[in-house]
């Protein structure tokens, strides 16, 4: 019987397995292989040397760029967590009818199904030198001359990340909050807990799995990004993704691959640490 299960299971899962082997496993293996190759000006040649890695770890730029990547990930995480938690809390505990919960929840998720690039572009009229933010602040007399650091800066990068990815916090946190048994909260109130105490001692501990899943999403999306950083910083800041995409643009595939391998390992280590705190299969 067990053998039969395995056979049927594999047959049904075969197409997915095929897609993942061809477009996930093989590409990773290819990148690992190419990271040991050599590049000439016009082509890449098979070899086995550690030059790419030696260059990568020998360069001071690498450490700065990795530091930058973690900085973006951490800052974005803080903001998306605070905003996402508050929004999910409002939806789960303060909106009383299921219909309204669904409607408001959909309102939060719809932007996810539209284009990220256009959502980035749409910050230009806000943040530009003559944009809405600057002209408003000037007319209020808060500033005398337009602020230059609004667009094409780290500020803009973080803002865009928060704008794009808060949703990835809202959805899993909302999902776990909806499963919290409301009688637990009533019990806490009957036992004399204040609102803040309920939040801290009941809601937050029970929401932890959702927070962890959201964190995994945000951390990996931000760490693997290259397009938001390039666009919103006006090519002035760099993260690891940009390092890779710059190498690709120069056709330096072996060096791009070496950086990609290190990035992948970093991301996997970060996720591995987080998975210790949550069992994803239980949370679905």
């Amino acid at each position: 019987m067990l053998k039969n299960n395995t056979l049927i299971g594999w047959l049904m899962a075969l197409p997915i397995m095929a897609v993942l082997v061809f477009f996930l496993v093989l590409p990773i293996l290819m990148i690992v292989t190419v990271s040991f190759w050599q590049a000439t000006e016009f082509s890449i040649i098979p070899a086995f040397n550690f030059e790419n890695y030696a260059f990568l770890f020998g360069s001071e730029v690498t450490y700065r760029v990795f530091f930058n990547t973690f900085k973006y990930a951490f800052t974005t995480w803080i903001f998306t967590l605070c905003i996402g938690f508050t929004v999910a809390y409002f939806l789960a505990f303060h909106v009383r009818s299921l219909t309204w919960q669904i409607v408001l929840f959909l309102l939060c998720t719809i932007p996810f199904w539209t284009s990220n690039i256009i959502r980035m572009i749409s910050w230009i009229p806000f943040l530009g030198r003559n944009g809405i933010a600057n002209s408003t602040l000037t007319s209020w007399g808060v500033i005398d001359q337009p602020l230059d650091w609004l667009l094409f800066s780290d500020f803009a990068v973080i803002l865009a990340f928060v704008h794009l990815y808060t949703l990835f916090m809202v959805v899993p946190i909302f999902n776990t909050m909806m499963r919290i048994d409301k009688s637990l909260i009533e019990a806490a109130r009957d036992a004399g807990a204040s609102g803040a105490q309920i939040l801290w001692n009941v809601v937050i501990p029970l929401t932890k799995p959702g927070i962890m899943i959201g964190t995994i999403f945000v951390a990996t999306l931000v760490m693997g990004d290259f397009i938001t950083v390039r666009f919103m910083s006006g090519s002035q800041s760099a993260n690891v993704g940009r390092l890779i995409s710059n190498d690709i643009a120069l056709l330096a595939y072996p060096s791009a691959s070496a950086t990609a391998v290190v990035l992948l390992l970093t991301v996997l280590i970060v996720i591995g640490i987080m998975l210790r705190f949550v069992d994803i299969r239980k949370e679905l």
């Binding site: 477009f23 590409p27 303060h94 284009s115 995994i216 990609a260 679905l284």
Partner: protein, 279 residues
Amino acid sequence: MEPRPKSFYILSGFFALFLLFLYGPTITIAILSFQGPGGGLTFPMRGTSLHWFRNLFEQQAVGDIWGSFRRSFALGLMVMVTTVILSVMGGLAFRKKFKGSGILFYLIITSLVIPSILISLGVGLIFSQSGLEVHWSTSGFGSQLTWTLPFGLLIMFAVFNRFDQSYEEAARDLGASPWQTIRHVVLPIIAPSLIGVALFGFTLSYDEFARTLLTSGSYNTLPLEIFGMTTNVTTPVLYALGTLTTVFSLLMIALFLCLALWSTRRKARAGSDAGKGML
């Protein structure tokens, strides 16, 4: 009903601000795309006109927008159909534990969290080293599946975790074959969720950028075309295009949501009438 606490009003305000933050910028470029012919990328509006939309229809003004739109649309449909079919099969497979299901599960999670540029780079390298030509309908298609399949599968896992198996048992007791059980019992019950999977499949493919970057070949998809425009187009024609494709996305989302609503209602109507009989 007990009265609303004060925190409700504060949180409502916060939520409203959040929605403004989410939608404000997009609405702004929608307004700005109606700039007069002399207008720039920011306010003030110099008159209102359809000038920039008309510009989009003149081939020479910008790149091959309509070609790239057709490609993105076709690719979106291909990815959507494949994602729905493979996710259902995968969801069914995972209902019983089979040897190696753990490995497959972790592959799916890896596919979700791997930085997109790695897929782009790796697939591009494989195709170039084996002498194949990258094309949006082959390498681009496969690369996008690595992004849409995890979402489809996670939705299916969630659906089947909540699936009441007694329906299938009942069907089996009545003599239905395994295929009949799936066709006439399981699929109708999960139909609304399948529409959700289709929505993910289509929209995530239609907007995908990073995984298609090195895998779409010489014919761009729409997001690639738009990104190309950001570096050399400095007129509101960029906003006009952004507005049009966002409107298109919103229409597709509305279509899927209406379909989902319709199929939920249909399910409720066609479902069991137990307990509703005349007493």
